[in-house]
Symmetry: C2
Subunit: 213 residues, 2 copies
């Protein structure tokens, strides 16, 4: 199994967490999102992913894009540590938290959107930061409300699910951008609990071979 990713990409981080939770071995191949104008926009990477986004997972001669599609695939093929709950109602709740973060937050604040805001739309650094903070607060407000119903030690009771896998990189980002997280006590308790897991520690951006100071 080969994972093409970038240390600080949220979507790559999700897949690393999922692979580690399932105790799957993989080779890591860094794709530098800033070097050479973005290696994800150049051959040979674009042959792996026409969306020019990381990550890509290669397995059994197939190449897989989109982190959530990869995680659903891993859950079907390696069902030992299930990340999607078996009960359809619980599965929907877990996916809803995942999508609150992976659809409504991450793509709006990812590198290429921020580059477009500053470049083509001429926004200031201040405008960019306000944008990031705004969408983090929107998404975290929603997730904090959902967690009142669902959380135990983790997002969905005491089992790690796809919701947790999506939460981890978004809190990491929020901290990186100095977002005030005191309005989200349940979310932050869950996050702190997740940090106790070795699988999560191993997936940290700073623990990757392509991490930079």
């Amino acid at each position: 199994m080969i994972l093409h990713g970038y240390w600080r990409s949220s979507a790559s981080y999700r897949v690393r967490v999922a692979l580690n939770l399932k105790e799957l071995e993989y080779e890591y191949r860094p794709v530098h999102l800033l070097k050479d104008g973005g290696q994800q926009k150049l051959e040979p990477y674009t042959a792996l992913n026409p969306a020019q986004l990381v990550p890509t997972l290669e397995h059994n001669g197939h190449k897989f894009n989109q982190s959530l599609a990869i995680i659903e695939y891993l859950d079907s093929v390696f069902p030992e540590t299930k990340l999607i709950p078996a009960d359809p109602v619980e599965a929907a709740k877990a996916r809803t938290i995942a999508f609150d973060l992976a659809c409504e937050l991450q793509p709006i604040t990812n590198l290429r959107v921020l580059q477009y805001l500053v470049g083509e739309l001429g926004q200031s650094e201040e405008g960019k930061l306000a944008w990031i903070h705004h969408w983090i607060h929107k998404a975290f407000t929603s997730v904090e409300a959902r967690l009142q119903d669902t959380a135990g030690y983790f997002c969905m009771g005491d089992e790690v699910t796809i919701a947790d896998v999506c939460l981890i990189p978004q809190v990491y980002n929020a901290q990186r951008f100095n977002v005030d997280l005191t309005p989200y006590p349940v979310l932050m308790t869950v996050y702190d609990n997740l940090q106790q897991l070795e699988a999560v520690q191993k997936a940290r951006p700073e623990a990757q071979p392509d991490a930079q100071a």
Copy 2:
């Protein structure tokens, strides 16, 4: 089954298509995204969805948010017309196209993001339209490339899947914003084929009780 939605919301449109393909009856309750400053931000709707987004589906005393989580739920509980392929590799390909559209395009160009661009960030109408066109071209370029491998009569061979369900509203939006779609011949052929289905026709925004001229 009760669907709370808005005629022109892409996410509501997806769920209508899925419900119709599965021949499930539902009561439709409109939530006006512009009236009263946005009814999705007010009680009683926010009790159904803390993310203040449409749609919400009510079923068996549960309330479900996030259109893709709803579609996955419907596929588990009403498996007669499967929208997620049974084979894990095919499922991953279908979900990848769905996420290219539902993560990387729709949330970046939805109403609240456009309102923030024009309001808080002071972008012109011209800047807003350039933004919409830019992200549509990005996503459609990726999907067109994927369809070279996967498409038959529909996105994934000749069976309708979650990829088609996500494609329909995004092409509808692209046409609404006069995006040149000639670079996407396979995508548009699939779209035209989908329009032949009665389930898709019934889900059109203009066919909804809350449609406006």
